[in-house]
Symmetry: C2
Subunit: 160 residues, 2 copies
C-alpha cells in the first residue's frame, strides 16, 4: 500500500482527532472518568475557561461521548451533571495509553503523579499493543498496513 | 483519593496533551509512522497549511519526538526529512488506540479504511487495556487511582 495515495481524511485517526483533537477535550474526558461531573467542578479542577468548557462539552455531547442530566439541590436552581456514554467510556484505552506515555517521558523528578490499579486484584493497569495471535508488539516491531473497503484514493490535483 | 483536590496540571495526560493536543499533531505523527517523511509530502497528504505544518513539526522537534535530517537531490536545493525519535515511536500504542476507537465508532458505511497487521504472523494489531496480572480491563471494569510522589495538592483559592 502506498499510504500517500490514499485520502487521509477517511482515516480513523483523523476522524477521531476531529472529535478529540481540541485542546482541553482529553482533559475533560479524563476528569469525567475520575468522577468529576459538574460544570463548576470541571471548570475549577481543569482550569479551563467557562466558555471553552461549554463548547467542548457541547461538542462531546454532539459526538455522543457525553450525556447531560439535570439535578437540583435544595433551594438552588437546576444544574447539570455530565457523564460519559458507552462510546465515551470506550475511550479508556486511549486515555491510559496517553497516561502511560506521559509517565514514561514527561514525569518530573518525583516520578508520575498517579497509579492506576485493577480494583479486583490490585495490579497496575497499562495499555499494550498486541496482535490477535498474542504477540507483544514493540516500538520497532514491523507492522503492515493494508487498505480495507472504507479507504479512498486521493484524487490527484497535482503531478508527483 | 479525591481527584478534585489534586493539581491536574502535573497529570501525565495533561502533560502529554500539551505536546499532542494541537489539531494536526497526531495526524503528522501518524504519517511519519506510515513513512511520509518530507515536508511537501506531509503538506499534500494531510492537507495542513504549510505554516501550521512548520509550527507543528518544530513543536514535535522541541519535544524530542521528531528529528530532522537534511538531504539533497541532484540539482535541487537542500531539503529536510523528518523521522520519529525513539520517544516518538513510543506513541504507537496511543495512535493504535485512537485508530481502534475510530474504527469502532466513526467508520462510514464501508467500514474502516485500514487494517494493521503484525508482519511476522499476519494477525491484526490492536491496543488492549490489561493489568499486570494479565486480566483484561473492560470499559466498565473498576479501576483504582492512587496518588504517587509526583502528585501535587491544589492550593485552595476558593471554598468548597
Amino acid at each position: 500500500m502506498t499510504w500517500e495515495r490514499y485520502d487521509s481524511r477517511v482515516c480513523s485517526v483523523a476522524r477521531t482527532m476531529e472529535v478529540l483533537g481540541e485542546r482541553w477535550t482529553m482533559l475533560i474526558v479524563r476528569d469525567l472518568f475520575n468522577g468529576v461531573r459538574r460544570f463548576d467542578a470541571l471548570h475549577r479542577h481543569i482550569g479551563v475557561a467557562r466558555d471553552v468548557l461549554t463548547r467542548r462539552l457541547e461538542a462531546l455531547m454532539d459526538a455522543g461521548l457525553v450525556e447531560r442530566t439535570s439535578y437540583r439541590e435544595e433551594g438552588a436552581r437546576e444544574r447539570y451533571e455530565y457523564r460519559l456514554t458507552s462510546a465515551g467510556r470506550d475511550l479508556r484505552p486511549i486515555l491510559v495509553a496517553i497516561m502511560d506515555w506521559g509517565d514514561a517521558h514527561l514525569a518530573g523528578a518525583d516520578g508520575p503523579p498517579l497509579e492506576l490499579t485493577h480494583d479486583a486484584c490490585g495490579a497496575g493497569v497499562h495499555t499494550h499493543l498486541v496482535c490477535d495471535e498474542g504477540h507483544a508488539i514493540g516500538t520497532t516491531t514491523r507492522l503492515h498496513a493494508a487498505t480495507k473497503p472504507g479507504a479512498r484514493l486521493l484524487v490527484a490535483s497535482h503531478k508527483d
